[in-house]
Amino acid sequence: MTHAPSAPVAPSALELDGLVRHFAVRGGTVRAVDGVSLAVARGEVLGLVGESGSGKSTVGQCAVRLDRPTEGTVRVDGTDITRLSRRALRPLRRGFHLVFQDPSASLDPRMTVERIVAEPLRLHRLAHGEELQGRVSELLRLVGLRPESARRRPHELSGGQRQRVSLARALSVEPRLLVADEPTSALDVSVQAAVLNLFSDLQRDRGFGCLFITHDLSAVEFVADRIAVMYLGEIVEQAPTADLFASPRHPYTAALLSAVPVPDPAVERSRRRVVLQGDPPSPLAPPAGCRFHERCPAAVDRCRVEPPALRTLPGPVPRQVACHRVDEDGTPPQL
């Protein structure tokens, strides 16, 4: 597992700074994303973890500018793309792409696999004619699909095969940044592992930076170098994968991790679990103070009033946490 250099010289593959995305709805504003800052170094996989409704997908949409942030900046490979118009963005889209959650929805049902995979190459005028065909076959081989698949249509493929097509399309332009929005959640469990393995291999070979959005902790433990945990539009903890799994600091992270079943009955029976009460509050009216305080087993009066800032903890590995109850030296509260 490779850790990102602490002071990267090259620009990050992705850099979000104070990203805010609010949606005006009847009766108020949905604060889907409320001040998210994160960086994905070149060749690094950052796992973005959170419950549904935490705003993690919106972060992904903003990162590839399929959505326009309300505030904050989005830099891809050092270029600020926050306010660029659709037209101005088009040539830059070579540098980043995304994989959607549901491959049956993200592939045009009327196109053949060949045309789907070729589309980005064609649109960026990177290849045509026989060269284009060659590139497409090469990409299909790369994602483990047989050449015959090229003439199939999405509905003739299995879920796993469709997600491979989606991956081939995203990688066709050799992007430096890939945003993967729950790429395995819509797949059967048996297929998830195969697609994750493929993804991980491709990432190692091609070295693209990746924002891997998921609620599946076992998936993210497998592919991510670092993990950022989101709760209700904010990042509450960020740490290298191994450190986060070994010693979560934020009570929410601890609760998330303890919800993952351990495949050993003895351990499973004896381990202590942090069980949260209630549902996440509505992003229409997030609670005052720390957004997690209503469900936090360690909350004190201060948590109900003062929103905690995301602060860097001392120590050899770079990790950040937003919690009043985590001590200066990084000791987490007793749960």
């Binding site: 590839v64 889209r93 792409h97 980005p120």
Partner: protein, 289 residues
């Protein structure tokens, strides 16, 4: 159930269409009409405009199957040629409505905001008029002729086409595969013509099959009112109009063109309904499975 549905989706389109009762019935009659219209000069036993006063107001018989009118013209020949006029107007008006309506709907749905406001307000205003009233009004302004009637009917159909095209664009543009096309570097052209339009064809096809009978009826109405086909050229509407004074003495003069209009309209409506049922996976399933 699920496997049956899956099998249904994989069956070729023509097979699903052929297995649908309304499509089969409506389609057969519609094809007869189209063929009759196309081959009218070959099929009609008489010149539809030739008067024969010796044979005026004859009832249906061996020499004139559907009888003759007040000028002794052969009713069968006039119905066949009238169907030709109806089909011409029906098809041309729908083509015109699509040529104007589809691009407007696509653009309105894609750009939203200002463009959409303008297109939608104009469409809504036109939709506020009943279809036939709009067609009659436009035809009256343009002046009586078959071409003007076609234009009037086509323009009257435009708002409905715009609506369907816009609704489909709005629905499709938020789907992941359209978003993926944007992420792949696609612009409005790619999105609209490579992704939205091909996926909107079913809805538009249905709209076309309901547009044709509407156009046939309005052609009959306009011709009846003297705003469409001009006598002595035959048209189902002109025939009805001419039959009015003789409705008691020679009812066949009104009955046969009337049956032709009803049959053509019914056939295309059945076809349209059936096509919609077959193409819409959420629509009601008719016929046994």
């Amino acid at each position: 159930m699920n496997t049956q549905l899956a099998a249904g989706r994989d069956t070729p389109l023509w097979r699903r269409l052929a297995g649908n009762g309304p499509v089969l019935a409506g389609g057969t009659v519609a094809v007869v009409f189209v063929l009759a219209a196309a081959a009218a000069p070959l099929l009609a036993p008489y010149d539809p405009a030739r008067a024969d006063f010796q044979a005026a107001l004859q009832g249906p018989g061996w020499s004139h199957w559907l009888g003759t009118d007040d000028l002794g013209r052969d009713q069968l020949s006039r119905v066949i040629h009238g169907a030709r006029a109806s089909m011409q107007v029906g098809v041309l008006a729908v083509v015109l409505a699509f040529l104007v309506g589809v691009p407007l709907g696509l653009v309105a749905g894609y750009y939203e905001r200002f463009t959409d406001s303008v297109v939608s307000r104009v469409t809504d205003t036109l939709l506020a008029f009943p279809f036939l009233v709009l067609a009659v009004g436009l035809a009256a302004v343009l002046g009586p002729s078959l071409l003007n009637a076609t234009i009037a009917i086509g323009v009257s159909l435009v708002p409905q086409v715009v609506r369907v095209a816009r609704a489909e664009t709005l629905r499709l543009k938020h789907l992941d595969y359209v978003q993926a096309a944007l992420a792949s570097g696609g612009g409005p052209g790619t999105v609209l013509f490579r992704h939205v339009l091909p996926n909107a064809t079913s809805a538009l096809l249905v709209q076309a099959t309901v547009g044709i009978p509407a156009a046939i009826i309005s052609e009959a109405l306009l011709s009846f009112l003297g705003l469409g086909v001009q006598p002595p050229d035959p048209s189902l509407g002109v025939m009805l109009s001419g039959a009015q004074p003789y409705i008691a003495a020679a009812p066949w003069m009104a009955v046969f063109p009337g049956i032709a209009i009803v049959a053509a309209t019914l056939a295309f409506n059945l076809l349209g309904d059936g096509v919609r049922d077959v193409l819409d996976p959420k629509g009601p399933k008719r016929g046994g499975r």
